[in-house]
Symmetry: C2
Subunit: 274 residues, 2 copies
Amino acid sequence: MTQAGKARTRATVQLAPAAADDEQGGSRSVRRALEMFEFLLQQGEPATVGAIVGALQIPKSTAYELVRTLTEAGYLEPSGRGAGLFLGRKLFELGMAYRGQVDLLRDGSQIVEELRDATGETVQLSVLENDMMLVLLKEEGSRSIRIISRVGSRVPVNWAAAGRLLVSDLDDATLGALLKRSVRQSPTGRSITDVSKLIQQIRRFRKQGYATELNETNEHAGCVAAPVIDGSGRCVAAISVVAPEHRLGKQNRDELIRRVREASAKLSGRLGAH
Amino acid sequence: MTQAGKARTRATVQLAPAAADDEQGGSRSVRRALEMFEFLLQQGEPATVGAIVGALQIPKSTAYELVRTLTEAGYLEPSGRGAGLFLGRKLFELGMAYRGQVDLLRDGSQIVEELRDATGETVQLSVLENDMMLVLLKEEGSRSIRIISRVGSRVPVNWAAAGRLLVSDLDDATLGALLKRSVRQSPTGRSITDVSKLIQQIRRFRKQGYATELNETNEHAGCVAAPVIDGSGRCVAAISVVAPEHRLGKQNRDELIRRVREASAKLSGRLGAH
DNA sequence: CGCGATCGTCTGAAATATTGGATACTGGTC
DNA sequence: GACCAGTATCCAATATTTCAGACGATCGCG
């Protein structure tokens, strides 16, 4: 067999720096299907097959074939209005099944909503994944503010109060390495990027039992976060409230801190923390 | 008659939906990956690769390959404790994205929870899909009862009060045909299976604005349901409360009916019904 | 300790999906 | 009515995945 080597004749279009998750091996079509999901997830809105082809750089015919398979199975569906496809209902069902299986989410989604209702602000539940903070749940407050993170988005841990709590379990060496890898300057340029300073701050937040942040990732907004601790004592998540600056005066802030800590303690209790 | 202008060049065989999800064509690996999801969804609990191989009847090597691809991408993940795999977090993220896009679910999940909190009973939101009733959302009540349907499960419309409302839009002919195809005897053997009787009952329920059922699918339990109507006047979903028989005495039942109707009216309003 | 059972990886031949381009079909514009 | 741009399907050659079974690694158990 002329095993023509692996000369990956990549269509030369060396566009983007090639996403890191460009693993290879295994079924190609499956990876592509997954990429389609992620593309739509990021978009946050329906896209036409043409758009998908453009974004993912895959052949038209293949894309149509894939789309058909996924659509028939309910994993994609034609957007209600307008043209284009979006994620399908089946994915919702699967997501709910996942939630039902995972304590953190099953109990967390309820507590996050309670906190949202109690404060009127946007509340998030985040975890650490791959050195970054991942927003798992978000409930919009009544007065919604533009916040940087959508559900599913990943941001460096130094961009948010919650992120700093999530890594507060690590020992100095590990933490330092993680920070060195992942720290980025925030949109507003106000977050701490110096690793040793960050470590100090993180230690303080942990001891304190909550963390706060103002204007670091978002002009005129800040957040208050508290750690969720599981049965083994590890910080597995953080609950945070995002609020506009003018509602973060001392009085309101103290109130928010109290409520956030209360909520995260409640969730920690449900996870078996003592 | 639509001018037949050009004879259908290619008899576009958009054949019947074929209840069986045994479609073929398109990427095999993708279909298999999807089957794995559905298998885990049905199981409701983690499974080993071996179990999956057995259930889906696919070659071992292929299964491992697929599992690896899916696991690396976060669509499957090793179950916390014990061995086995389960649905992964990514699916949760996608599910939430879907929810965020669909009014029915975005608003519905909130309203369902409110109703659960108000009544303490298990509340469901269901839709019609492929002749069957599909439970999209479920919130367990404080005193949980064994109910036949999990989220994602499909049951014949004659098994539940909600199901009967979901088909109440259809005209007699269509409704009759649907019933003839899909009606099954319920677990307790108590639900109506006679098509013309069912149609009568359905018409009555629709006029009444709510439906009830007792012991038909579940000994010692019953449910109360009300229709969710969208902007165009169609019944797109139904909210139902499941309760143990002893809490369905006239008084309690009337109270539940009132609350369910209230909740579904509220959701209908959010969807643009007038 | 050795046994059987399950888990997980690996291999090259066989089966299958993928690909680019041709080809219709749609809908809107001049 | 002709035309363009975008959408969607079809085709045969080819590259890729799939498959069966062999193999090593683990695990549980008497």
